[in-house]
Amino acid sequence: MLPKLVEVDGLRKSFGPVEVLKGVSLTARQGDVLALIGGSGSGKSTLLRCLNLLEMPNGGRLVVNGEEVAIRHDRHNRPMLADRRQLARIRSGVGMVFQSFNLWPHLTVLQNVMEAPIHVMGEKRAEATEHAMSLLERVGLTEKRDVYPGFLSGGQQQRVAIARALAIRPRLLLFDEPTSALDPELVGEVLKVIRGLADEGRTMILVTHEMRFARDVASHVCFLRGGVIEEEGPPRELFSNPQTAACRQFIGTHLAH
């Protein structure tokens, strides 16, 4: 068995009085591609964001890249890290790609990709440049290296964002609806890059509305509803033979078009 990179057990997250995650459990082993699907408000993005601590879970167990996240509560009962240094360690092993790209607009494409390796991880500039250029080549944007993000199409920006996530040499990649902000004709170029990453055996967890893509690329699919994983399984089973009515209906409407 390959090692577990992510272990989530009974994870809970509330925003004020609203409980968004009501005890979620999942496991990702090295090389797994997990797809999180579900309607809006089902908690799938929140779950993803808990994995690199952009959201601090209120309770439950969370292990990322083999490191258990230790959470304590302050006097207002707000969750926080017991050891702040854990934040940097966890995040340095997790690359994240956002729905709205979130590139840094004042840095060129190449600078965006090199930013974290040089300024956060202390890589040497020459080394970081070489690595960044090879990543830009891989996403097909070598000739855009000196362009600022504001002058790129959405698909190009998202491919830069993927290169930026790869630049920190992450053990785990998170994608938060990576194609939802794109024009339909630009979706393909981004999916192609993500598919390539899956093919080379990278561990990835993605929140997506692209059901066909999830079916073809994921090794495991989780259907979330109302803050719990209502149904999960290998994509072929889950998509062809959903067990619950809600899952059946969700897949029906999303695979139809």
């Binding site: 940097a88 340095s92 607009p105 004042h106 002058f151």
Partner: protein, 235 residues
């Protein structure tokens, strides 16, 4: 007429020139001082640490509520009195309070109060996703502020800050009330000595005007630099 404005033995040229230089020095000094204070105050107000927020809000409120002229008088006279009393108490003599330092500190304090609001607004205008991405890639605190927040908020702050700079050039004249020889004070002295009031005040006005003109060119070139990464450039 060329004689009294010139650089000859009876000319006020050298004095006016050094007055103009002092005005420029005070303006630059107070502006930098104001930027530093303003940035720190904006950071304090956005820190969500209650005592820092209260302190920053109190400072901006007071410094924007009191006339600068009054602040200069209070800080210069009261400040020097308090400082000297403190020095006497530990057995030392009078401290020389420099008009130049007072000018920079007082104007810088006032500038800082206004600048902090401009900078705070510009920081709040940064799309949050960019800051969140920086969090996700491990930027924390000072690195986040220096590498991401500061450069991305600048284009949004530049308009307000250049306004402040323009106002500051002229506000530096306020320091003449404590007898410091900047441009206006020198012009007033020259006018009184030669009885040529109109001439010297017009010359002083022309010099202030020239300073703002040059500033405009500088500001435009700074704004142009942001066009490199802002797809819609404001020309």
């Amino acid at each position: 007429m060329g004689g009294i404005l010139g650089f000859g033995p009876n000319g006020w040229g050298p004095a006016l020139l050094s007055g103009a230089l002092v005005t420029i020095e005070i303006t630059i000094g107070a502006f930098i001082c104001g930027l530093v204070i303003g940035t720190l105050t904006a950071a304090a107000r956005l820190s969500r640490v209650p005592p820092l927020v209260v302190l920053a809000r109190g400072y901006t409120t007071i410094c924007r509520a009191i006339p600068e002229l009054l602040l200069i008088l209070v800080l210069y006279y009261l400040g020097s009195q308090l400082l000297n009393e403190a020095l006497h108490a530990i057995g030392l003599g009078d401290a020389p309070i420099s008009g130049f330092a007072t000018a920079i500190i007082v104007l810088g304090l006032v500038q800082g109060a206004y600048a902090s609001e401009i900078i705070r607004g510009a920081i709040l205008a940064i799309p949050y996703g960019q800051i969140e991405a920086a969090h996700a890639f491990g930027h924390a605190r000072i690195l986040l502020f220096r590498r991401i927040i500061l450069p991305t908020m600048l284009p949004m702050a530049i308009g307000g800050l250049s306004n402040l700079w323009m106002v500051l050039i002229k506000d530096s004249a306020l320091i003449s009330v404590v007898g410091y020889s900047e441009l206006l004070y020198t012009a007033k002295q020259a006018a009184g000595y030669t009885q040529r009031y109109f001439l010297f005040y017009v010359v002083a006005a022309a010099v202030y005007y020239a300073m703002t003109l040059v500033s405009n060119i500088g500001i435009r070139s700074i704004e142009g630099r942001f066009g490199r990464w802002m797809p819609v450039r404001a020309r």
